[in-house]
């Protein structure tokens, strides 16, 4: 019983960590973007203020059960996937290490990919019931784009799975620990393909047509306010954290303590952000076909490299 309680406390701690890191990153990104655009920009803690505001707001209207459950699904997906991602290297020597080994031995990479989609579907359902056409349009765009970046992403992962005969994230980290080489160097093509996919996942420019504000009134979230938006926002932050951590775990050797984790994830995060700031927006079909060109090529190279 005590064991389970510790687990639950660990899970809550992980969630809080992810929430804080994700929110902070979001704020920093807003700041950086503004600076690049020659604006002053909000303070980096603006996201926390927003979240607090939304949380304390009263939800006045709703559009039915699915409208409630959509954000809940989203949250389930982000939290549960967080449980399966090793935040720190398992068995590391920091005193808080054991807090973050939630359920990492109970699932593998393929499981993670699927549980991460769960949220999108829930979100899509919630947005669908609102009846706002902009929401649905945003959803279809998002799903289409997902089909686009999923291919290079899977190719990259498959090439690594082939190289190390495992699908477990923990094993990937252990491999990097033992050999001392990050997988981004062991199979650079996989890393490039994965990076492209990561950019697609973050929905920053040029892949930000999903919530294109001028067209769609911010797309899927447009009909949500108050607690709904708070849930969506926080799960989005957690999701960013999950994706970054996963990427770091797989390609960049994981993190032995929180400082390293923050440095690595932040560095990684800057790639889509900085690229996004200076690039224009793709239409959906352009985005999809973009992923089916160079990223696909690099993915295939990665597999080829792995086979040879």
């Amino acid at each position: 019983m005590e064991h389970i309680l510790i687990k639950i406390l660990g899970a809550i701690a992980t969630f809080i960590l992810a929430f804080i890191v994700g929110m902070t990153y979001g704020g920093v990104v807003r700041k950086i973007t503004a600076r690049v655009h020659n604006r002053l920009g909000p303070p980096f803690y603006q996201n926390f203020i927003d979240a607090l505001k939304l949380f304390s707001k009263k939800t006045a209207i709703h559009h039915g059960v699915m409208h409630f459950l959509g954000p809940a699904f989203l949250m389930v997906s982000s939290v549960v996937s967080l449980m399966f991602v090793p935040v720190l290297i398992p068995g590391g020597d920091s005193w808080y290490n054991s807090w973050f080994s939630n359920m990492i031995y109970d699932g593998d990479l393929i499981f993670l990919i699927y549980i991460m989609v769960f949220g999108s579907l829930g979100m899509a359902l919630g947005a669908g019931q609102t009846g706002n056409p902009n929401s649905s349009i945003g959803i279809t765009r998002g799903l289409s784009q997902m089909v686009g970046y999923e291919i290079p992403w899977v190719l990259a992962l498959v090439s690594l799975m082939l190289m190390y005969k495992t699908t477990s994230i923990v094993d990937f980290i252990n491999v990097q620990q033992e050999t001392g080489t990050w997988l981004m160097f062991a199979n650079p093509f996989a890393f490039i393909a994965g990076l492209f996919a990561l950019m697609g996942m973050f929905h920053y420019s040029p892949f930000d047509i999903i919530g294109a504000p001028a067209e769609l009134a911010s797309g899927p979230v447009s009909e949500n306010g108050g607690k709904f938006l708070f849930t969506m926002m926080s799960s989005g932050s957690v999701f960013s954290f999950v994706k970054l951590t996963l990427f770091v775990d797989i390609f960049m050797g994981g993190a032995s303590n929180l400082v390293v984790l923050v440095i690595k994830t932040f560095t990684l995060y800057m790639i889509p952000v900085l690229y996004g700031i200076v690039s224009h927006r793709y239409r959906t079909e352009q985005a999809v076909t973009f992923f089916w060109k160079w990223p696909l090529f690099f993915g295939l190279l990665a597999v080829l490299y792995a086979v040879l």
Partner: protein
């Protein structure tokens, strides 16, 4: 006993048909009895065994028994059959040709069980053909596009059936026996050419029914044109007969061949392409029936790939998906049928916003769609996970990417399905729609809930699959690939399903309570017209329904693919043949004198070639 069961089915079919003529209620009653009674007898009395009944016709022994593999498939047939028979009563009420529907329904259930109990090729073929024509009657039952869709279905079925017939007479001439077991045991005694020819012919035969790629074009039309109460059987059980055959051929025949691995790789890739292409086509459909039909083809593609790869994990995955697909696709087709029944249409462009009118249908559809998409914690995930692991470990890396692509793209049509019917604007046009009657909703909900249970406790099914696989010559998988509800891959990776479920439920409950119960008192429900677009409240007359060109951006991306339809080539071939036939029949000019000239020329030709003819 087995003979008696089949006779009850047959007699029941005829009696139901006659009873329906006398009194509709009598017909309904007889229908239920003649499905459920023999089905129950089958489940209760027929145990796995080699020879349960034997008849001799035309000097050929017809041997009936039940193998563990067949037993697994018979679960699907019986389960779906009983559920759908209950469903059909309400579904068919007030429609035309109910008698013929009942007749064909019972007959195809009988034929499927017959196929499964057949231990020799002849009874296999007989039941196969009965299944074909009884399902054919269903395909054209609504009288729409009878000549194109119906004939297409029958031609492809006949192609498959005749391939099988050809294979089995060759088998008989070479091995002197029609028994399945003799065929598999003495496969090595065949000549090398026949060792290739026979599996290929049989693969064509079973490939047609399981809608593998170049042979699939009948399926979308046939599935969507049948009455929905039957389409569930069609896609859930009937197509699985093709899978059953494929399992027999691939596991029991090609493994004995040097070239077998090549055949299996080809079949696996065909399955993969089927899955991908069918998924893309499903995305472009605007009719729920068609969408599900294409989706069925796609899912069958996964199954075929799994069977063709044939490693224990892949086989486990494929067999699991056979059952699970029957469950969720059955439920989905029933849902579409319910919608068709209540609204009169199945077109996404016409009907939407049914979530509040048909909540039970929505919930079962939602569960089934989650299972379909392979999202944990529902059963679809189990088979998907095992399949991917199996493919990766078998070094089919590109194939796994193809399947990943297919299942990711499947989210698009999964969402399109849910959005098309249940979400979006609630039009006043559909305000009167009520939930379907209990006899329709309960079967579909039951099937959907079963996928839920199997998603966390797959061992309930794994035991049956395990004995089926041991019958096929695999080692026991219990403890190696799964223990209780934990799945293992051969590399030692694992997924523990129960913690997943508990985690999901815990988080879900927390946030659902947070959002719903905390906010419920304060919030009020508003209609879907009451929304904000860019901060403005739309007017009543504004059209906010988003249903035309739903997936347009994606369709644009896959446009080059959509241009290349296999069906066009078939149609071109068919047209060419008909033109050729038309040309040929002009030999009969209608002029008696020409015929006389033919006769003389024929005589002259024979006289000229008499030496080469008679030496």
């Amino acid at each position: 006993m087995l003979t008696l069961i089949l006779v009850i089915f047959l007699g029941g079919a005829i009696l139901t048909w006659l009873g329906r003529k006398i009194n509709p209620l009598l017909g309904d009653l007889l229908f239920l009895v003649s499905v459920i009674l023999p089905a129950t007898m089958f489940v209760m009395n027929i145990k796995v065994g080699d020879t349960i009944a034997q008849h001799t016709l035309l000097g050929i022994d017809l041997v009936w028994g039940l193998s563990p593999l067949a037993h697994l498939f018979s679960l699907v047939v019986v389960g779906l059959g009983v559920m759908l028979s209950i469903y059909s009563i309400s579904y068919m009420r007030g429609k035309e040709k109910v008698g013929m529907y009942y007749f064909s329904f019972i007959l195809s259930i009988m034929a499927m069980l017959g196929i499964l109990v057949s231990r020799d090729w002849i009874s296999f073929f007989i039941f196969w053909e009965i299944m074909t024509w009884s399902s054919y009657l269903m395909v054209i039952l609504n009288g729409k596009k009878v000549q194109s869709i119906g004939i297409k279905y029958f031609v492809f079925s006949a192609l498959g059936a005749y391939s099988m017939l050809m294979a089995l007479v060759i088998i008989n001439s070479q091995l002197g026996s029609f028994m399945l077991s003799d065929t598999f045991n003495n496969f090595q005694h065949l000549s090398p050419a026949n060792q290739i020819l026979i599996p290929v012919l049989l693969l064509v035969a079973f490939g047609v029914k399981s809608a593998v790629m170049p042979l699939h074009i009948w399926a979308p039309d046939a599935y969507s044109n049948s009455p929905m109460g039957y389409t569930a059987v069609f896609s859930g059980a009937l197509s699985k007969m093709g899978v059953y055959g494929l399992v027999l051929v691939i596991i029991s025949m090609t493994t004995q061949l040097p070239a077998g691995s090549l055949i299996r790789i080809i079949v696996a890739w065909l399955g993969g392409f089927t899955a991908a292409a069918a998924t893309l086509w499903a995305i472009t459909q605007d009719d729920g029936k068609k969408l599900l039909a294409w989706s069925s083809i796609g899912q069958l593609g996964y199954i075929v790939t799994g069977v063709a790869i044939g490693t224990p994990l892949a086989m486990l995955a494929a067999m699991f998906l056979v059952v699970v697909h029957a469950l969720f696709k059955g439920s989905l087709f029933m849902a579409v049928g319910a919608i068709e029944k209540q609204t009169g249409t199945t077109d996404f462009k016409e009907v939407n916003g049914l979530i509040r009118k048909m909540p039970v249908t929505f919930i079962s559809s939602l569960l089934s769609i989650i299972a379909l998409a392979g999202i944990p914690p529902l059963a679809g995930f189990v088979s998907k996970w095992m399949l991917y692991e199996a493919l990766i470990q078998n070094h089919n890396y590109l194939l796994v990417v193809l399947l990943f692509f297919a299942s990711t793209a499947a989210f698009l049509y999964a969402y399109k399905f849910l959005h098309g019917y249940f979400l979006g604007q609630e039009e006043p046009e559909w305000a009167h729609v009520k939930e379907a009657p209990m006899s329709m909703t309960i079967p579909m909900l039951l099937l959907a809930l079963t996928t839920f249970v199997l998603g966390t406790w797959p061992q309930l099914l794994f035991n049956s699959i395990d004995s089926a696989m041991q019958y096929l010559g695999y080692d026991a998988t219990n403890g190696k690939l799964w223990t209780d509800s934990v799945l293992f891959s051969q590399w030692g990776d694992k997924v523990a399903l129960q913690p997943v479920l508990y985690a999901i439920i815990a988080v879900f409950l927390f946030f659902a309570i947070f959002l719903y119960f905390k906010g419920r008192k304060a919030t009020r429900y508003v209609t879907t017209k009451d929304i904000s677009t860019s901060g403005e409240i739309p007017k009543e007359w504004e059209n906010l329904t988003f249903k035309v060109n739903f997936m347009q951006p994606f369709e644009r991306a896959i446009e080059p693919f959509l241009k290349r339809q296999i069906e066009k080539y078939y149609l071109g071939f068919g047209k060419g043949m008909e033109a050729l036939f038309d040309f040929t029949r002009r030999i009969y000019t209608g002029n008696g004198q020409t015929y006389a000239i033919y006769a003389i020329v024929f005589l002259a030709l024979l006289l000229i070639f008499r030496v080469s003819l008679f030496g």
